[in-house]
Symmetry: C2
Subunit: 308 residues, 2 copies
């Protein structure tokens, strides 16, 4: 059986024809072209999908959409400026196909859990370390969406309930996202550079500070860079250990730009997390902490898997 | 069909014959009599169960056991001083009945989720506010036990990652348990009494400080008591909101001594939590925060429900 997967972003609509194993058969993309109406965007999604399918039989369309998704309804999407749009019904009317919609971060997590870094695993928590900390939780092959349909917001788990903790975009202080996103890493790097005018980070950041600046400096022995990496890894470890103490997943998979650091991130992270997991030494089966493998395709593959 | 449920504690073994609706048919108890061997304790459990069943047909025995339970194996129980004891196999050999074993807090949560405060709900997070913060998570009628079998340790979710946060019994600082257990409430009460020699709490605590001291003083208008209650409710709200942002459960149920405060706890807690839930105003279905209803019987009923 074949499935259509759509990853709707603020910039591009990505779509793919995906087979039952999660392999891509064909891909296509179109600009999202914001600002424009939900109907107009969905007309383009429908055209992309019908063109990808051609005369092949497909089981349906899965869509990953930014924002709060509740069944086939997009309750609220800040990025798209949508409120209560019945996306699944609209797309079904346009294509004649069954449509399922999920939150984009959740859907990408489903892709990684079923086809990518956690393929075959009992359970997985996937975290995307980007502008924020997004993610999804997959238990027994199914996305955790909760009673409201909007579960799995690990980025808004407070890990530092403190008046002096960094402010999160959600308006609270000390959210995991405000301490472990790429944005947080860049903020910490900037603060360390201000405090250490002699740090190598100033030279490395010639083109602008990125999530790599502190890691690159640390690799070259820069003390201030190493301190930033240590603090960032600690913050990330606190949130990851919390999620392990709650879910005990078989796999924690990390994606997003920061995850590209690979072992420079994973090795100290695993070490820090192990000391934080409750009753770690008595647990016969430990959580594997790794990086995601599908890259930008996790979105379209996961969306297709909504229908499998 | 009838089921046997056993709640094994450090002081007593409680057992019950339970019907399919979760109603108690008969109860019995015996002292745990620590210290003594796992085998000797299980011999008493078997006798209690067989006596309760009499000549009735029962589907099997469910047991809630303190510590780290992995399938029918008790990996580690600090309270009982057990390590890697094959409890289910031992009890099956003694009784000829199928046996399932779960962590005691998890099993009590299953009872509340299926028969008590969250009966009929899509999902529930149950928290016991006692010496620590125990709990369990029930999704679609099933306990979340995770890959290791030992999931759902919400008490060891760090909510205040800070060198000055209170030390938890697990050796880390700022765990939910160290800030929202009855033990934490008593510590906060003692600290406030030391700082406020004129507080009503001194008179009310004549017999010793309890989890009610600050609530009782607050109800009589004592400023220091009200400050303790406010801070405690805030701490509890941070952890509860984290769990809602992660699970979006239909019900959060609170048990343990502190939960006996009822609306004096629940009303300010609901108010505080609502402001902390991510995207709360766009969610069509909100989590209900309530108190548990089964009392000490949650353990035996939940244990029996392991077999339903």
């Amino acid at each position: 059986m074949l499935y259509l997967g759509v990853d709707l972003g603020g910039t591009n609509i990505k779509a793919a024809l995906v087979d039952e194993t999660g392999s891509l058969v064909r891909e296509a993309a179109a600009p999202t072209g914001l600002p424009r109406s939900a109907q107009s965007i969905c007309d383009d999604i429908a055209s992309l999908c019908l063109a990808l399918a051609g005369d092949r039989t497909v089981a349906g369309i899965g869509v990953g959409c930014p924002g709060m998704v509740d069944g086939g309804l997009v309750r609220y999407s800040n990025n798209l400026a949508w409120e209560n749009f019945a996306m699944a019904d609209y797309l079904t009317a346009k294509t004649g196909l069954p449509v399922k919609v999920g939150n984009d971060a959740n859907v990408a997590a489903l892709g990684e859990a079923l086809v990518g870094c956690a393929k075959g695993a009992h359970s997985a928590v996937i975290l995307t370390l980007g502008t924020g900390v997004g993610g999804g939780v997959v238990l027994d092959g199914r996305l955790l969406t909760g009673y409201s349909g909007t579960a799995a917001e690990p980025g808004h788990m407070v890990i530092a309930d403190d008046l002096h903790a960094p402010m999160c975009t959600c308006g609270r202080r000390g959210c995991f996202e405000s301490l472990a996103s790429a944005t947080a890493l860049i903020r910490m790097t900037r603060e360390a550079m201000d405090a250490h005018p002699d740090s190598l980070m100033h030279r490395l950041a010639g083109e602008g500070i990125t999530g790599s600046t502190a890691f690159d400096a640390a690799a070259q022995g820069d003390d201030a860079g190493q301190a930033v990496v240590l603090q960032y890894v600690h913050n990330l470890a606190v949130g990851v250990a919390n999620l392990i103490n709650i879910f005990s997943p078989q796999v924690v998979g990390l994606s997003g730009g920061v995850a590209n650091q690979g072992e420079a991130l994973l090795a100290p992270l695993r070490h820090a997390v192990r000391a934080m997991v409750f009753g770690s030494k008595f647990q016969p089966r430990q959580t594997t902490i790794t990086t995601c493998t599908l890259g930008y395709r996790a979105g379209v593959i996961g969306a297709a898997m909504l229908l499998r």
